[in-house]
């Protein structure tokens, strides 16, 4: 079943056409890998979906319904949670406060932004969540995020996306700068998230990871989607050549000649 569909999304920054035209569909319980070289427009595409900036043209459908995503809040309300490449957590806040940032449990709701945080609930929910993702032993919900390792931060960001039962979780290079163990942790998360019925859009430069967790591959080049394949129907070499834009036929001839 279709969860998210993009139709002809376009976005320019001044004269830079970061997104020329992007259309694709993401189904329920599916992990789609979005590949492409630096500057291909991957982050631009997911920022458009998650409401960081508006698109110039094009439509977004969530569960078949046409939606307009004008802010990050809109995207979150539609069940789209994003973990950006360059930003995810506030290092000076505790784990618990980060987990609920923007969706704080409060008492006396009518006080609006002045409403007091429900600190007990905040801490309990955070502890429960950390336990659920299997990192409760090491981490205290009151610890500042600045004291965590890169992998721990990534786990926190991903569990935050999971906690609101988002329909779609978007991960922009989640394994960047991570060690072997942490990387496996993140990939395990992706599998768990899919098992729980969420859809995942995963951006990465590591093609090996793609073959470990993804169902389908989408390749972007210079602002356009140039290929779309199921993982079962392709192989590493082919995907690599599509990403770099190497002449496929020449490459095939070369391999045949050998």
């Amino acid at each position: 079943m279709e969860v998210l569909r993009l139709q002809n999304l376009q976005k320019s920054f001044g004269s830079v056409r970061a997104l020329k035209s992007a259309s694709f569909t993401l189904n329920e319980g599916e992990v789609v890998a979005l590949l492409g070289d630096n500057g291909a427009g991957k982050s631009t595409l997911i920022k458009a979906i998650s409401g960081v900036f508006p698109v110039d043209r094009g439509e977004i459908y969530v569960r078949g319904q046409k939606v307009s995503i004008r802010s990050t809040r809109d995207a979150m309300d539609l069940g789209i949670e994003t973990i950006h490449q360059d930003t995810s957590l506030a290092p000076d806040l505790s784990i618990a406060r980060n987990l609920f940032l923007g969706r704080e449990p409060v008492n006396l709701k009518w006080l609006g932004v002045f409403a007091p945080l429900d600190l007990a609930k905040l801490r309990d929910a955070a502890a429960a969540l950390l336990k659920r993702v299997g990192i409760s032993k090491k981490l205290d919900a009151d610890a500042l995020v600045s004291t965590l390792s890169g992998g721990e931060r990534q786990s926190i960001a991903i569990s935050r996306a999971m906690q609101f039962a988002a329909k779609v979780i978007i991960l922009d290079e989640p394994t960047n700068n991570l060690g072997v163990e942490e990387t496996h942790g993140v990939l395990r998360f992706v599998k768990e998230v899919r098992a729980a019925g969420h859809s995942v859009l995963l951006i990465t430069h590591n093609i090996h990871h793609v073959f470990q967790v993804a169902d389908r591959i989408i390749v972007m080049r210079r602002g356009e989607i140039v290929a779309e394949q199921t993982v079962a129907d392709t192989d590493l070499l082919t995907v690599e050549s599509i990403i770099t834009g190497a002449d496929m036929s020449a490459l095939l001839k070369e391999t045949r000649a050998k």
């Binding site: 960081v52 506030a90 806040l93 406060r97 940032l101 923007g102 704080e104 002045f114 007091p116 945080l117």
Partner: protein, 326 residues
């Protein structure tokens, strides 16, 4: 053992080390000069404290959100000048004039905030320019002359600059303003949803925005709040001394920022403490007062103040490093 852990993190926190230094300073001054703790001197300190302290509360919230405001000293000067000109030359009712003065502060803060957030110029440059505009305006509309302030007893004088005695101590109502506003600021920064947003914005603006936090709106309101508090402090001061001058508050912006960072709030945003700011305000006030009493020559004050501020900042930096290591 969470109790022990909490205790040790409290001891390592910047506001705690500031408090220890404050106590050491108070004891040192008291030993050096018995008059330091006399009712007269304490009353004196408590009269000055709220005026800068009130501005420091706004500045703490603003710094925590990652911005700062250099125009507060100028606003401190302009607001009461405008009020008194309206009353004396414009025959406007004092209450209306005070309201107009505060609205002017709202406008100044809103302009600061809008330029910083919507055009994206650093708050250092924007508020430095605003300092010149506001100070220039105060000088121009008064032609550089001080004005007599409102001194007819009544509701507004009592509200802003009334005084009362507790035993042999004489306190001004401004102290109540400071205490009330401090409690509100503590609540907002540390216990309310808004405080979570303020810290998050200063810590990692993009992360906050990605979670749906309206970062620009929060910053604009904080600029407005800081400006209004600066104007209010200026009015309190003008009423207390029954005079208002276009150059009042010169240099206050730096003194206020010093109070805030000495208390342990990070200049880079994300980490703010109102308790620390209160300690910082008390510290700078007692240093200025204490070094006069112990006979440091007037022209040498700033050397002492500067050295003590530097020492405090070095201490915070060392503690921070230590905490990160452990």
């Amino acid at each position: 053992m969470p109790g022990a852990k909490r205790r040790s993190s409290l001891i390592r926190s910047p506001q705690f080390s500031s408090l220890v230094i404050l106590i050491v300073l108070l004891v040192a001054f008291a030993v050096a000069d018995a008059n330091f703790l006399s009712p007269l001197n304490i009353s004196n300190m408590m009269a000055f404290l709220p005026e800068l302290g009130i501005i420091a509360l706004g500045m703490t919230l603003l710094l925590t959100a990652g911005e700062f405001d250099l125009s507060v000293g100028a606003v401190f000067g302009l607001a009461p000048v405008v009020v008194m000109l309206l009353v004396q030359s414009g025959q406007v009712d004092i209450g209306v004039a005070l309201l107009a003065g505060l609205l002017l502060c709202v406008a100044i803060g809103a302009i600061n905030g809008l330029i910083v957030t919507k055009i994206g110029i650093s708050s250092f440059l924007v508020t430095l320019s605003m300092l010149l505009v506001v100070r220039g305006a105060a000088l121009y509309i008064t032609q550089g002359f001080p004005l007599k302030s409102w001194d007819q007893p009544g509701f507004f004088v009592t509200l802003l600059a009334g005084s009362f005695n507790i035993g042999t101590f004489r306190f001004y109502t401004s102290l109540w303003w400071f205490i009330t506003l401090s409690l509100l600021a503590i609540y907002v920064l540390h216990y309310a949803k808004l405080g979570n947003w303020i810290s998050a914005i200063g810590s990692n603006r993009n992360a906050a925005v990605a979670r749906g936090v309206p970062a620009d709106a929060v910053k604009i309101w904080l600029f407005i709040l800081t400006s209004v508090l600066a104007g209010l402090a200026g009015m309190i001061s003008a009423f207390r001394i029954s005079a208002t001058s276009p150059v009042a508050g010169t240099g206050y912006e730096l003194e206020v920022i010093a109070m805030v960072v000495v208390g342990g709030t990070a200049l880079t945003g994300g980490r703010g403490t109102i308790l620390g700011t209160i300690v910082g305000a008390l510290m700078l006030r007692s240093i200025r007062n204490g070094i006069v009493l112990i006979g440091v020559p007037g022209l040498a004050y700033n050397i002492f103040v500067g050295v003590i501020i530097l020492a405090m900042l070095i201490l915070h930096a060392l503690l921070q490093k230590n905490a990160a290591r452990s």
